[in-house]
Structure formats: C-alpha cells, structure tokens
C-alpha cells in the first residue's frame, strides 16, 4: 500500500505517523525541512528492503539534502517507478516493531517486538490473535525480555498498550495481509511511526 494512504489509514485509528511528503526535487525537500533535519527514502514496490538497497538517508541537514536526494534518485532508477519521500526526523527513542499477519489457523495476529536492527538478533516479540483485550495488551508488553527498555522502566507502558489496542483494531477491521510498523520510535512520552508497510 502506498505510503501516504497507509499513513492516512493509521490516522483513522488514532495512530500518528511522522510527518511525511513526497518530493519531486531537492528544492521541495529543502522547503519541507523548514530548516530541521529530515530523512529521504526512495519508495518503490519493487524494493522491499529500502535500507539494504541504499535508498534511505537519515538525519540530513539543509546542506546535505541536495547530494542525498541525487544519490537516492540515481539508485532508485533500477527500481522504477519510484518516488522519493521526505520525512521529518523523529526525536531519539527506542525502536520497536508492531506487526500484523494472517495465520492460516487463527486468522489475524498482532505482534509487538523490540525493533530496529535487533529484531532478527534477539527475536524478542510477543504475539496474540486479534482483536486483543486490554489484558492481552498488558501481557504482550510484559512478556518481552526488553519490557523495561521499551517502557522506560514501566513509565511508558500505558502508551504502548494503547497503541497496541489501536493497531489490533486496525488489523482486525481491514483486509490486511501483512502489516509492519517498523520502526516505531518510542520515547518515555510520545512515539512516532517512522515506517509503514502494508501488504494486502
């Protein structure tokens, strides 16, 4: 699913994703940045792993935007058609993943895990069938080995649980095949969904 429509779908369930816009050229990217730091991502349905394909440039200052844009443009050509997405950089926090999939037996499932580069190393995740209850959400958080980290010692538990409940609703009510909110950057207060992938 195309990125901005996916973000709109999330918004309908009260899930905020980071401010983003497609940019045609370096100039509009600079304009989007309003002097702040941004990320640029080459988006193509043919490139499933953007970072691996070198299509992601993070933390770009105004000066760095133009060369980064050109580089992504060049690398994106082989994944044509493509578009380039500018995103405001999220404030630093801890990366988690929230996901959804359809199990052949039990139907829609929701996943919560420690995210970013640690996903595949630690495989620290919890899983439930959708829709989940508030109790399920609390258990999902408490089952993780990284629970103290991703909840900031428990202070951020409530916001994570509420995010899980919203995501569960989204997964349950839409014809989603697979969903990755990866990463979601969580802070003690607040979070940003930085990347969204929805497969039907």
């Amino acid at each position: 699913m195309e990125y901005t429509s996916a973000a709109k779908l999330l918004k309908g369930y009260g899930i905020r994703s980071i401010e983003s816009a497609y940019v045609r050229d370096a100039e509009s990217a600079i304009k989007f940045s309003k002097g702040g730091k941004i990320a640029l991502k080459g988006i193509s349905s043919r490139a499933l792993h953007k970072s691996k394909a070198g299509l992601v440039k993070l933390n770009l200052s105004s000066k760095e935007i133009e060369p980064a844009f050109k580089e992504i443009e060049k690398r994106s050509k082989k994944f044509s058609p493509y578009r380039i997405l500018a995103q405001r950089m999220a404030e630093p926090g801890i990366e988690i993943i929230i996901g959804g999939r359809v199990d052949p037996q039990f139907g829609k499932m929701i996943l919560l895990g420690l995210g970013g580069i640690y996903v595949e190393t630690f495989k620290d995740f919890s899983l439930r069938a959708c829709p989940i209850t508030a109790y399920d959400a609390r258990k999902m958080v408490s089952e993780l080995r990284s629970r103290r980290i991703i909840t900031y010692g428990g202070r951020g538990s409530a916001q994570l649980e509420s995010l899980l409940l919203k995501a569960s609703k989204l997964i349950a009510q839409n014809k989603i095949g697979e969903l990755d909110l990866n990463p979601v950057i969580v802070r003690e207060k607040g979070y940003d969904v930085v990347d969204i992938r929805i497969l039907w």
């Binding site: 039990f106 996943l111 069938a129 399920d136 258990k139 697979e178 969903l179």
Partner: protein, 463 residues
Amino acid sequence: MRKERKIDLRPMLKPQSVAVIGASNNPDKVGHIILNNYLEEGYQGRLYPINPNDEMVMGIRAYKSVLGIRDKIDLAVIAVPAAIVPMVLEECGRAKVKSVVVVSGGFAEVGETKLQDKIVAIANKYNISMVGPNCLGVMDPRSRVDTLFLPTYKLTKPKVGGVSFVAQSGAVGSTVLDLIAGEGFGLSKFISYGNAAQVDEVDILKYLMNDDETKVIIMYIEGVKRGREFLEVAKKVTRVKPVVVIKGGTTDAGVAAARSHTAALAGSNQSYEAVFKQCGFSIAKDLDELLYFGKAFASEMLPLGDRVVIITNGGGTGVLTTDAVYNSGLRMAELSARSRAELSRSMPSTVNVRNPLDLVGDAGIERYDKALSVLSEDPGIDMIIVIALFQTPGADEGLALRLAQYKKAIKKPMIVISIGDKYTRDRVVLMENEGLPVYDSPSAAANSLAELLKYYKYKKGIV
C-alpha cells in the same frame, strides 16, 4: 456446504448400551480386544456384539447388524475394514445410534479423504456424533467405557479421578495413559480423536468444560481444525477449569520466504503458543511437564501469590530447590517474626530458622509437624514445598501419611519433593494416593507451582 453438526458426547462416555461392530471370537482381531475390555472392566450397561457370521461372540449373543437389535444404542464402536465403514455407519444411522467411535484406520491419514468425507456426511445426516476414524477412542473409568484396542494386561488402566486427557495421537495417548495409571491423580475421561473428521478438539473442550467430573484437562495437540472457534471455546473453558497443553510438530515451513518482518518472526507455531497463552492454557514443553503440571492442578488449590517456603531434611536439596524457585519466577518467602520465634522455641539448636528451613537429616515426624503447623499459618507464605528424603533415619511411612494429612488441612498449595529408588517410590505412592503431589526434581516442583500461579493470575486478570 456441510450440514449443521449437532454434537453430543455424553452418550459416548456414559452409554446405557454399546454395540461393538466387528466383535470377534478371534483373539487377534481388534474387535475381540475391545469387547474383552468391556467384559473385563465390568461395564454395567447392555452389550451387543455385531458379527455377520457368529451367533455368539465371547459368550454373548451376537447380531448380524445393529438393525437387528431391539434396543436404543447409545454408542457403537466400529472396528471393521475402512471400505465397509460407510455401510456399517449407514446402518447405525437407520438404527438411530446416537454416537460412534470409528477405530478403523485407512482414511485421510493414508490419503483416502473421499472415503473420510463420505462417513462424515453419513454421520451428519443422521446426527451421529462420531469420534475418529483412525483413533483409540474413549475411556471413562466411572462408566467403564473403554473403546481402546489395547489389551488390559499391557496397559495399566488409571483409577477414577478428575483429570481428563485429550490426545489427537493414539500413540501419545496410550503411553501417557499408561503413565497416568502410575500417578496419584485419577482419570476422568480419555479421548483420542484421531483424524478429527467430525468431532474435533472444539467439541471435546465444550463437553469437558461442562463435565463436573473433570477438574483438569490435559491435551496433546498437533493442530486444531477450527482456529477461531477453538480460541473462543478455550477462553471459556479456562474460566472454569485449568487446561495443560502440549503441542506436537514444531517445524515451520515457508517462513524464510516471508516478505515482512512480522511474518518472518511469527510462524504457525508461534501462533499456537500465542493463542494458548491468550486462552490461559498452561504450556508443557514435554510429556513430563504435561504430567507434572496436570498433577499440580489436580490438587485443585491455587496460590494467591509468589512466595514459597521450603521445609527440608536435606540441606543441599533445599539449596537446589531454592535455585529452582527463583528460576521458575517465584520467590522465597520471608518468615514472619512470629514464625521465627515459634520455630526457634520448638526446634533443636541444630536447626537454623530461616527459609529454606533445614530440619536436618535426623528429623522425624515431630519436626515436620511443628514446622508445618507454624508455617501453614504464616500469612507471608503462599505455597509450601516439603522435601522429604526417605533415605534418612527419621523419614518413613508415618511421615508420608502425616504429610498427606497436612495437605488436606492446609488451604495453600503444598507439594512434596522426594528423590530416590524403591523405598522412596513406595512412600511416594502412599502420598500420591492421598492426593498429595510428589515430584522427583526441584525444577519440576518449582515450575509446576509457577504454573498454578500463572493460571491464578490469568483468571484474576493480573499481569
């Protein structure tokens, strides 16, 4: 597509009348063993052997078909070759037989799915509840129903009790059943449902949920047929009784090809585990744990917290058990000032009053008595582990029986650890027959208590 199923397992487990189709005078035939089991176990209802050739089977008047019986048949056990099962089942339908167990193999498990679909259609057409095919069937030691084609001298039959055992696989079913016979807790129902062509785990859970004789359900599952219904029914079951489950088959094909992180992380086995957790099931890693956990739940007492006290007559075993307590996620209780004062007064100076409470190798009934009477009243203790090592001079039958008395009187979970060979095993049997769960390893004991607490917390909605 398929006709609405009306499943009722009661006539199968509490039948007034049973027909054994394929009953035979030939001792090599499955139908011979099944009929013999009914006779040997003293089934009190009416028995009808069905055999097309013989007038009498094992001394009982035989019938050529169920259609010839002028009686209402609650259960027909079908042990004839697969090819003639449809015909026999059709006759059962016309004779208004309420339920059948199809022991015969030769259906979906060998690729004969059409033949299997055919018998399901017949069973549905006549509202027959059908377990199998390709299964051991059912056993209920109270009604003395036993459709297992396993000779009695090879398989010790469990005594009457509150644990029901559900096993898709006949092999796991019969071996665990044999082991259950050696446990103190008895059996309520055994159901081995084979190919689950019609009656499946959802129907079985529904029945056992409402069965007052069943206090605990233990299950061996390879896969469920109706995931969503399973989830809903399983949640209802754990509101009223605990379920211990072991899942067989743990390889995930196709995960490597998954396109999203989520799909790569969470394959089908993870889904099963997640659903079991979501339903409040206790998950056993192996068959040992299935019995360990089942045994702890069978004593029908749940802890209100995670604080454990250990009373021991062996120092080292007390230390190992302390480690096991922490490894299981439980913790050691702090003894109240009052408990400490009372124990210091009544114990010899060789006993160090702390937790674990080491009564020392020369302890007899008297010291256990004092320790248990004081500590069972301590409000800071949720669970009691008593280590009774019978190699020591002071530990004997008297101690075993006294511990069992305490178990009945104390309103907190209490279990025993006893490790040893023959002398010990005989005392273990004494305790277990009195309803006191005994474990042969510290980790098994601690992990079992931890499962009780998990279930209590699930029921109360505590994370």
